[in-house]
């Protein structure tokens, strides 16, 4: 792709405007807003790209990028432990699991839906659901806490205390669920031996 001089000028102006906007946001002490908007834009764009891109491997890695940006949002939300868990579990384990799934199912080409009435209805449903919910949420009044949230990210100790006192039973059930999922996944996905198939 060759760019004409006018295109270069337009792109240069756009980039410098965006740069000036970022710098001014930082200077006027809106670091939180800056972090929120950058991370939210990255997350939404990579999520939309994940849906729209044809190649499945690319969409798996865009999913990982989306999870990474989400981990950054958790840092903005004072949830340091969850940010670490998000990056370890989602961007590390689940995204790679999907990459393995894509590779094991042999990247066959599946044609997309044709642009018919049903397709249009689904777009309308998603957009309408978003408009309805977003309007209600934006105009709603929330019973927020009066004191400002604590700024430290060190929530690990507090979460651990809650896990072993108030939420002990759900914690144990969660470990049981993980064990069941592990055994179930192995049983469902393993290759059937020949002597079991004939029996």
């Amino acid at each position: 792709m060759t760019l004409r001089f006018a295109d270069k000028l337009v792109f240069g102006l756009l980039f410098s405007a965006a740069f000036l906007l970022l710098i001014s946001l930082l200077l006027f002490n809106y670091g939180e807003a800056l972090a929120f908007y950058v991370l939210a834009t990255t997350m939404l764009l990579s999520a939309a790209g994940m849906i729209l891109v044809r190649d499945l491997i690319r969409s798996a890695f865009l999913l990982a990028l989306c999870f990474l940006a989400l981990g950054g949002l958790y840092v903005v939300l004072n949830a340091g432990f969850l940010a670490a868990a998000q990056i370890l579990i989602y961007a590390g384990a689940v995204a790679i699991l999907f990459v393995f799934g894509v590779m094991l199912t042999g990247r066959q080409h599946i044609p997309e839906h044709e642009f018919d009435f049903k397709f249009l209805t689904l777009i309308f449903v998603a957009l309408g659901f978003f408009a309805l919910l977003a309007r209600g949420l934006w105009n709603g009044t929330w019973k927020l806490s009066a004191e400002p949230a604590q700024a430290d990210l060190n929530t690990v100790a507090a979460i651990g205390e809650r896990f072993f006192s108030q939420y002990l039973l759900p914690f144990e059930i969660a470990s049981l669920i993980l064990l069941m999922a592990l055994i179930g996944a192995i049983v469902v996905a393993r290759k059937e031996p020949d002597h079991e198939r004939t029996a």
Binding site: A47, I51, A79, G101, G184, I186
Partner: protein
Amino acid sequence: MNVLLEIGVQHYLVLATALFCIGLYGATTSRNLIKVLMSIELMLNAININFIAFSKYVTPEALSGQVFAIFIITVAAAEAGVGLAVVLAIYKHFKTVDISKIHLMKW
């Protein structure tokens, strides 16, 4: 302008709604089983944003929202593992992951 720069709980809720709707659109329109599973993961993550935003803005001391989010992450990881195992079993049986060609339980 000030409403947009002072990040409150509404910003996170609208963001989570957008992510959820992207996931909903993907889960209903894609024809690949693996892409459907990925879209479901997006929807679960949108729920997590809600829990953690409420945990910061409504009950910053109790941390219940963060604990709930950890449980959701656990169940979502288990769901992804079992879901992919089911997809692999379906692929071994039908030799395809195209949803419109899997009609064993359709009539």
